[in-house]
């Protein structure tokens, strides 16, 4: 039994590791090392509670819920999101990566990290991680309509921030 469990879990891990990585990458202001640690944390936490996972429900929602909660807890400890985002990208490699990203993308990214955490979640989950409104609503434990409205507002807020930057 434990072997089958491990096998199943590693199958899910291979399928969703990049999505979770990208979620954290955007949410930590592109801090690679922190993203690596958080991604590993989430999957290990998921493995520890894998017995409680119901295969009838999508794994994606379950793992994103864990990722979201883990990030919230992490930020509660760190408290200052903005400073984290600013101090994150320090290594040479990260600097290089940032330079490679187009200027427009850079503006959007900067605007994105300046959004409130909840709105960042909505935008990243929907546009970067390709989650549906229904899935996001499940993860954030909201009504579907409420999630749709919140996403629309987040998009407006981002638009305003970009306009201000430009």
């Amino acid at each position: 039994m434990p072997q089958t469990e491990r096998k199943n879990f590693l199958f899910y891990y291979q399928q969703f590791k990049n999505k979770i990585f990208n979620y954290f990458w955007y949410r930590t202001g592109f801090n690679q090392e922190l993203t690596e640690d958080l991604t590993a944390d989430v999957f290990l936490r998921a493995y520890e509670h894998f017995e409680g996972f119901n295969p009838a429900y999508p794994f994606q929602s379950w793992i994103f819920a864990i990722a979201h909660n883990h990030l919230v807890n992490f930020y509660k400890k760190q408290y200052n999101i903005a400073s984290l985002a600013e101090t994150a990208a320090t290594s040479e490699q990260e600097q290089e990566e940032k330079l490679l990203i187009k200027l427009d993308a850079q503006i959007v990214q900067q605007a994105l990290v300046n959004l409130p955490a909840g709105q960042q979640d909505l935008i990243i989950m929907h546009y970067i991680n390709d989650l549906s409104i229904k899935e996001i609503a499940e993860i954030l434990q909201k009504e579907e309509n409420a999630a749709r409205v919140a996403l629309s507002r987040a998009l407006d807020a981002l638009r305003r921030l970009i306009n201000n930057k430009i």
């Binding site: 640690d37 427009d104 970009i162």
Partner: protein, 457 residues
């Protein structure tokens, strides 16, 4: 851009989970799996008492950790002098040395250790080379003059020292392997041991050359000197090994030649002795032939039947013929033995003759004529079936109680046990019939056991 923001967001760059991140995950995942397995094992071992459970878990985790750690330390060439696990690695190796009693085992072990040290030196060379270009070349003049290095230069000095010690150990281990090989007395095994060392030395030379290229000429003098010295020592040691190999090969060939000569000499001696013995044996054969002729006459004079005499003479003639054949085949010793056997047969012929004559007489009296045997059926020839002998209870077989007269029973054996009497042949039929008649003549007297019968008589 803001108008197409949604589309733009969907096309934002995405990254793949990095290799380093995956490594972190898998390492921690492995630890969790081990922990879970340990928990499962502990639960299987019926530990219901909580402190006992904790203790068992701790012991198991420590044990697994120790096994994994020591295996890694022992197997990895990345663990080099200066690492925290290096002591563990050397401790395992020391145990191996202690357990290698035979010289051949020591040769293999020391050769292996020399190769290990060389692999470690390769790793350390990278370390030295990595720091040598910007820092070591600056540091080198400091400790080359014997001055103490500055505080920031301590790691560099340590790396260089580790490298030098490790490289020096390569030739030390090879030397020990050569010493062990010299202790092997068996030339064939010594040749094998030297071949192992020679092969290792060839690869060592190549590896040392690679190391020399890695560290380069700008490296500290100590490192360059250590590599150069070890390279020179290895080449000299290899030359020494090759000389020893030639010596051992010569010894093997000399020994083989000696053995060949020994065999040839012994064969020559044997042939010479056989040649010397040949005339004597030929003479003996002639004498034995005379004796055989006399023996034949004696047999006929003694009135021995023709068939018995023929049988005996056939045997004697066969042995004599074999003796002659052995002599002709160049084996006079065998011929001698056969002649001795022939004489022995003739000397003791009287006993065989007596026995044969006796048997002949017995067959003549006991068996009917051949004519009768061919005419009459086998049942008629055989002796009449005997009635079961009277036996008391307890003498074997199954007891059948027979009422001899009203109120008196006795035990008769229906399946008599085989006794000595049965094997040798019971009383003649006539006697039994006589006894029966006597019993009948006594009227209705009760049948009594044989013991009582004898008493009555």
């Amino acid at each position: 851009m803001t108008q197409n923001l949604e589309k733009f967001l969907q096309n934002m760059p995405r990254k793949k989970f990095t290799l380093r991140g995956e490594g972190k995950f898998y390492f921690r995942f492995f630890l969790i799996v081990v922990k879970k397995e340990v928990e499962r094992l502990v639960n299987l071992l019926f530990f219901s008492y909580k402190p006992m459970k904790i203790l068992a878990k701790t012991i198991l985790v420590v044990f697994i950790f120790a096994v994994v750690l020591s295996s890694y330390a022992y197997a990895s060439s990345n663990i080099v002098r200066g690492d925290s696990l290096y002591g563990l690695k050397r401790a395992i190796e020391n145990y191996q040395i202690k357990f290698a009693d035979k010289p051949m085992e020591q040769v293999e072990l020391y050769t292996k250790l020399a190769e290990r040290r060389l692999a470690e030196a390769g790793e350390l060379a990278k370390e030295v080379a990595g720091i040598s270009q910007p820092v070591v070349s600056l540091v080198y003049p400091v400790f080359a003059q014997g001055d103490e290095p500055a505080t920031g230069e301590a790691p560099v000095v340590e790396a260089v020292e580790n490298f030098v010690t490790t490289v020096q150990e390569v030739s030390q281990n090879t030397e020990q392997a050569i010493t062990a090989a010299e202790q092997i007395s068996e030339p064939q095994q010594a040749a094998e041991a030297l071949a192992v060392i020679n092969t290792s030395q060839t690869s060592q030379t190549a590896e040392l050359q690679t190391i020399a290229a890695t560290i380069g000429p700008v490296a500290p003098e100590q490192t360059v000197e250590a590599v150069a010295t070890t390279l020179q020592t290895t080449i000299e040691q290899q030359a020494q090994v090759q000389v020893s190999q030639e010596e051992v090969q010569n010894a093997i060939e000399t020994k083989a030649a000696e053995v060949k000569i020994e065999i040839e000499t012994s064969q020559d001696v044997k042939l010479q002795k056989a040649e010397e013995l040949k005339p004597a044996v030929e003479q003996k054969i002639g004498e034995t032939k005379d004796l055989v002729a006399k023996f034949k006459e004696d047999l006929l004079a003694a009135g021995v039947s023709t068939s018995t005499a023929e049988k005996l003479l056939n045997r004697v003639d066969t042995k004599l013929a074999k003796a002659e054949a052995a002599l002709a085949g160049g084996n006079p010793h065998q011929a001698q033995g056969l002649l001795k056997a022939t004489k022995a047969l003739m000397n003791n012929a009287k006993h065989f003759v007596k026995q044969a004559e006796k048997q002949g007489e017995e067959t003549a009296t006991s068996t009917p004529s051949t004519e009768e045997s061919t005419i009459s059926p086998p049942s008629a020839v055989s002796a009449p079936k005997k009635s079961p002998p009277f036996r008391p209870a307890g003498s074997g077989g199954k007891c059948v109680e027979v009422e001899v007269y009203p109120g008196y029973t006795t035990c008769l054996m229906d399946e008599p046990a085989i006794t000595e009497e049965d094997i040798l042949g019971g009383e003649p039929v006539d006697q039994q019939a006589q006894e029966k008649q006597e019993n009948q003549g006594q009227g209705n007297k009760p049948a009594v056991p044989p013991g009582q019968q004898k008493k009555q008589q």
